[in-house]
Every structure is written in C-alpha cells, then in structure tokens.
C-alpha cells in the first residue's frame, strides 16, 4: 500500500518536473507541439480524403511512412548495443548510459507504432490486429509477429526504465535479481524486433530485392550504427547541459564498436550488390534502379550513392583512433552514419523493393507534402516523449530529485533542447 502511494507520488512529481523548465525548454516543447499540430492537421486531411493524398499508389504501395518505420525499428533495437557491454562485461562507464538507450528505444518504438498507424487505410479497425479481441493471423503473418514483438519490447523497456527511476527516486538500490534477467531478456528481444521486421520484407518471394538471406543481418548491422550515432551526439549534449557525467572513455568505446558494425554493414551491402550485379539475373533491375537508374528514371540514384559514400567516410573516421577521439570528426562521423543508414534502411530499402513493380512497371514515387508533414509530426512526438522522459530521468539519475528531497530540484532548470 505504501509503495503504491509512493508510486503515486513518483508519478505526480515526475509530471511536475516535466512541466517546469527553462525558457529554452519551453521553446523546444512549443516547437515540437507546433510540429505535432501541423502533422495532426495533415493527418486529418488524410483521414478525410484517404491515402490518395499520399503519393503511394498500387504500384508503389508502401513509401515514406513504412521507410521511416523500418529505420526507427533499427534505432529501437540499437539500445542493446549499449546494454551488452554494460551488463555482460560489467563495464561501468557505459552503465548509466544504458537507461538513456532504453529511453531512446521507447521513443523510437512510439514513432514506429505511429508510422504504422498513419500508414493503414482503416485506422478505425486497429482493434482487428489486437490479440484476443481481434483476429491476429499468428504465426503465419510476419506483421502479426512484428506487432507482438514491438509491443513486448516497448513494454519491457518501459518497465525497466520506470523501475530503475523509481528506485533512484526512492533512494533504494534496485533488485538485481529482477533487473538483470529483464535486461538480459531485452538483448534477444532487441535482436528479434529487427529480425522480425527484416523478415517482414525478406519473406516475400514476389520482391527479389528483399528476398535475400542477408537482409536480417544487414538490418542488424546498420541498426547498430545508426542507433548509437544518435546516442553519441545526445550524450555530448547531456554532458554540456546537465550535471550528468559521462566519461570520454565510454563515448570512444561506443564509437569503436560502431566502427566494427559499420565495416560489417558495408561488407554485407557490398556482398549483396556483388551477387546481384555480377550474376546479372532478371533480379538485377531493382539494384539497377537504386544505383544507376532504369529507363531514364533515376530519382534514387544520388541518394543511394550519398548513402554509400557517407557510410564509407564515417567508417574510416571511426576506425582511425585519431579521428575517433577528435570531437569534430567524431560528430561529423555520427551525422554521416545517421544520414547513410536513414537513406539505406528507409527509402533506399522500400522503394527499389517495389520498383519496378510486380508487372515490370516503373512508377516514380516521391513523398507528398502530406506524407512529409505527417512524418514530421510523428518525429516530433518521438522527440517530445524523449525530452519529457529525459527531463525527469536526469535529475533522478543524479540523485538530485528524490522522494526525500522532493520538489526542490524541480524548480532548477534541467536538460535543455535535445537534438539527435
């Protein structure tokens, strides 16, 4: 009973911290709310007119929404990149970062679910996909699997984060017997969400571009680059704006791990490209469309090459110890990796999968204004969720804001705007 009351207090206090902040904090929140509002207006338009207001059509039936979804599943999965060394090797410097990784995963998952929701034609029938209430075609449909693992992963991360913060708030040490198995469970879960998402595409024999055995490994490799890239920048911002101490050592270690996964990712991409282009079967057309253009249509070509070049440059920057430990080159590397993977696992994955279409037609797709506005709104929701969580979590992690110290700390300005 007492715990329940304390938990109630915890919730109220958390909400209290979230609503109080510096002017910069309010400006940032206001900016996000503005984007969310614009996205909402665009989405209402889409609901009224149907998905006709997107540029998707029968030929290219998935586009920008599903591309962002796929990329963000990778970001969510990347949390384990930090959990593995922290808990398995008991490597202290990363440990406090883990909770940030988990919060990033939660925000990414919120965005993932948002992108799926705006993509479906009948959001009023969302309950059809809910287990027990609806009729989930499990285990046949990979989308049914995805719904299950994404929600479980969201629940798991949400629970671990809440529990750890609650412990910090009540100034008790967390029960290791409870946390460790859950954290260990989150490792295979993270691998599974991205594997299942890869299988979603992978299992379609109709789309040779996706129907490749190394798609899931490629998904994982690229996720372990892009997720930490966001975190590395974030950690530096947090170090500057809060009292959270994150050691250089931790950042450089993550950067080093990223160099390996980036190298592996490039290798897998090269292996795929070689197989398709050298053997030159009829399946080559999709890679051609992506890399060189087909029959005069080359919308994707500059993006595809930018992705490859960015990825390669970032790989070199992270591989060489001197550039890895230099803040300027490190941050350039992070931005390049982010851009590279965003292209590769977003539009660079979805569009050539569907172009040319099943009957050989080339339908050139670029997202419509509605699609971009709605997507910006969903990203803003993700950033808002992350900012609010961070706002409450940082003082709790620092022990500044606890049950006994109460609301004193809340009045002090905390984390400012976070850009990732």
């Amino acid at each position: 009973m007492l715990t329940l009351r304390t938990f109630g207090q915890f919730i109220t206090d958390t909400l209290g911290i979230m609503t109080k902040g510096s002017r910069l904090y309010y400006a940032w929140i206001g900016f996000l709310l503005l984007l969310i509002g614009m996205g909402a207006i665009a989405y209402v338009g889409q609901l009224n007119h149907g998905l006709l207001v997107t540029n998707m059509r029968d030929q290219v039936s998935w586009g920008f929404y599903i591309g962002n979804f796929t990329f963000l599943v990778g970001v969510a999965a990347a949390a384990i990149m930090l959990v593995i060394p922290a808990y398995i090797y008991d490597w202290e410097p990363i440990k406090e970062i883990t909770i940030l990784g988990e919060m990033l995963a939660i925000s990414a998952l919120v965005m993932c679910l948002g992108f799926v929701m705006v993509d479906i034609g009948r959001p009023d029938r969302f309950w059809h996909i809910m287990p027990l209430v609806g009729r989930l075609n499990w285990p046949q449909s990979m989308l049914a699997w995805d719904v299950i693992v994404l929600n479980l992963y969201l629940l798991l991360n949400w629970f671990v984060v809440t529990y750890l913060l609650f412990c910090a708030y009540t100034e008790r040490h967390y029960v290791k017997k409870l946390v460790l198995p859950l954290v260990l469970l989150s490792i295979p879960m993270a691998v599974s969400i991205h594997t299942v998402t890869a299988y979603l595409y992978n299992g379609l024999a109709a789309r040779p571009f996706w129907n490749s055995a190394i798609l899931a490994p490629r998904f994982l490799a690229s996720a372990f680059c892009s997720g930490p890239a966001i975190l590395l920048i974030l950690l530096q911002v947090l170090r500057k704006t809060t009292k959270l101490s994150i050691k250089d050592e931790a950042i450089f270690k993550i950067a080093e791990l990223m160099a390996y996964t980036m190298g592996f990712n490039l290798f897998l991409t090269a292996a795929e490209a070689f197989k398709e282009l050298y053997s030159g079967t009829e399946h080559m057309v999709y890679f051609q469309y992506l890399l060189f253009g087909l029959k005069g249509h080359n919308t994707l070509v500059p993006y595809a090459w930018a992705s490859i070049i960015f990825g390669f440059v970032a790989f070199i920057l992270f591989l060489v110890p001197r550039t890895r430990t230099n803040w300027v080159t490190l941050n350039i590397g992070c931005v390049l990796i982010y851009a590279s993977v965003y292209i590769e696992k977003g539009m660079g994955l979805i569009i050539p999968g569907l172009t040319p279409d099943a009957l050989g037609e080339i339908f050139v797709y670029t997202p419509s204004f509605t699609e971009i506005t709605v997507a910006a709104g969903i990203f803003a929701i993700g950033f808002l969720v992350f900012t609010l969580m961070l706002k409450a979590a940082v003082p709790m992690m620092l022990g500044e804001f606890t049950l006994s110290k109460g609301r004193k700390a809340a009045s002090e300005p905390e984390a400012g705007p976070i850009k990732a």
């Binding site: 209402v44 998905l51 034609g121 969302f126 609806g134 024999a205």
Partner: protein, 310 residues
C-alpha cells in the same frame, strides 16, 4: 487520378446511441465515436465498427450484416442492391486458361470487369491489366507496356498478356495478412472481407502478380453505374481504405455463369471451368495444350493458366 473531395456530411452520421444503456452498449458506442473521429468521417455505425471477421459470424449475424449493407447501399445509391453470400459449390474448383495466341489486347475484358464488379470509376480501379509484350522478348515483364495506345490492336511484333488474380493454391497474400481478412475458399477463389481489412497493404507487397488493388480514396461509383447483383466477397461496393481483387466474378460463377471477362472476350481467348470435372473444356486445355503458369518458380501454384491454342 483526380482528388475529388469525398462527400462527408455530418447528416450522414449514424447517431443511434444506446438509449437502453447497458454498459457494454455504451462502451461500444463510445469506442465507435472515437473510431469515427479517427476516420475523420462520421459515417461509421456502431454495428459496422463492431462487426467481426466474416468467418466468425453466426448465421443470424450474417443476416443482420447483409441487411445493414443492403440498407446502406439503398440509402447511398437509391436502388435495391442485393448482397448474396452464396457458398462454394460442392465438387468445384475453378480454373482459368488464357490463350496468348488469340488475345489481341483490345481490353474489352478490362472494362467489362470494371462494369460488372462495381469498381471505383474515379480513380478507376482495374482488376485486369493487359501487358503488351515484344514477340522478340517473349514473356519478359521488364519489357511489358501497360499503357499502350495504338490506333489499332494487335500491333505488329507484339503479343498481349492480360494479368489478373491467379487464384493461387498457395497464395502469398493470404499468408501475410496480419488479421486474416483474406482467405482461399473451397472453390479455389481467394476472397477479401472488405469489412475486416485494415488496409495495411502487406498483401499487395506479397502478390507477385500486381493483382491486389487499394482504394486510395473514397470509391466513386454513380447510381447508374452500380451493378445491383452483388456478393459479399465480390462486387458489392467497397469502402475507402481497403484492398480488393478479382474473384473470378464470384457473384456470377457460383451461380453457374461465366465471369464477365470470359463472356465479353471477342476472340474466345478466355476459358473457364471446373478443374474437378474431367469433361470440362479447361481440363481439355490443360491436358492437350502447351500450358504455362506465370512466375511458376515462385511456387504460388496458380489456378490461372496461360496457353498457346494455335
């Protein structure tokens, strides 16, 4: 494809709220209201919102669903639209064969199909796509042209290949649907429950034949254009945001009629029949002609065959 604003008036709202007021009913109404807000259009009734997958409905529920649909169509089009639920005929598996040596690419089948099956006219949804192929290249889809528009067909050096749902024995679209809104019936026809489909379009990504089509906007069909003789799984008017496909004219073939495309074809290229009937024309073709299946290597095992009759 023009973007015509769908009619969406507040008068269209179904405001039957549970005045009897048990809690479940209230909850249903409340959830339906939220869903109405979600669809941005107040045309969703509570009954429609709460309707379950067709395969799970009792006979009584089916009757009330059909009554509701017929009432809705009457209100919308001002004429009686009959929605049948005719089950598969026993001992029948439908098969289709298309004679590539006869087809001249006139697209009469395309338009007869649209007319018969109540597809949206604007934007026009077509379940049959006719490909113009080079004789030199053979069946190579990367050389296919769907938008051919010469003065006269057939064009020199070309042949024509209409593609529609191949009614696969192992349909990838059915496998991937996350909510079981599409399935293969006993007579071999893959159907869609338009009232259960969530519009995720996974089936469209999975279909190797481009046979599945989505209602990107509100389907536009005038009262004059409506074919009132419909089937629940077939040509009844569809809502916005769901997937549809060729059903071998389920509303006709389950009554022993030919599909509209077979009937209209001026060259007799289209053959249709019962694969289980040894004396049928379709069996004769399969046993005596040079037959192939489109994308056979994918092992979808179509019951739609292409052949060279002459």
């Amino acid at each position: 494809m023009t973007d015509r604003k769908p009619t969406c008036s507040p008068e269209g709202c179904d405001s039957r709220s549970g005045s009897g007021g048990n809690r479940r009913e209230f909850l249903g109404t409340a959830v339906a209201a939220v869903a109405m807000a979600l669809t941005g259009c107040g045309k969703l009734s509570k009954e429609e919102f709460l309707q379950h997958n067709f395969q799970e409905l009792s006979k009584d529920e089916v009757r009330s669903v059909i009554a509701r649909l017929e009432k809705e169509y009457k209100a919308k089009y001002g004429k009686d639209v009959k929605v049948a639920t005719t089950p598969p005929l026993p001992g029948v598996i439908f098969g289709y064969a298309l004679d590539l040596s006869r087809c001249i690419g006139c697209r009469r089948c395309v338009h007869a199909c649209v007319k018969e099956n109540n597809q949206s006219r604007d934007p026009e949804v077509q379940w049959i796509r006719v490909l113009e192929l080079d004789k030199e290249e053979g069946v190579n889809l990367q050389h296919a042209e769907q938008y051919y528009n010469p003065e006269e067909v057939p064009r020199e050096g070309h042949f024509y290949m209409p593609v529609q749902c191949q009614q696969c024995k192992k349909p990838p679209c059915v496998k991937v649907c996350p909510v079981g809104a599409t399935w293969r019936e006993k007579d071999g026809i893959t159907v869609v429950d338009y009232n259960w489909c969530i519009g995720c379009r996974y089936c469209m990504a999975a279909c190797p034949y481009g046979a599945r089509h989505f209602n990107w906007g509100e389907p536009h069909l005038t009262a004059d254009e409506v074919n009132p003789d419909t089937h629940y799984f077939g040509n009844r008017p569809r809502p916005k945001g769901v997937v549809e496909k060729c059903t071998f004219c389920i509303q006709r073939t389950r009554k022993g009629l030919y599909p509209a495309c077979v009937e209209i074809c001026p060259t007799g290229s289209r053959k249709f029949g019962n694969l289980l009937d040894k004396t049928s024309e379709i069996r004769y073709i399969l046993e005596n002609k040079r037959v192939f299946k489109l994308k056979e290597e994918l092992n979808t095992q179509p019951n739609f065959f292409y052949f060279y009759g002459v």
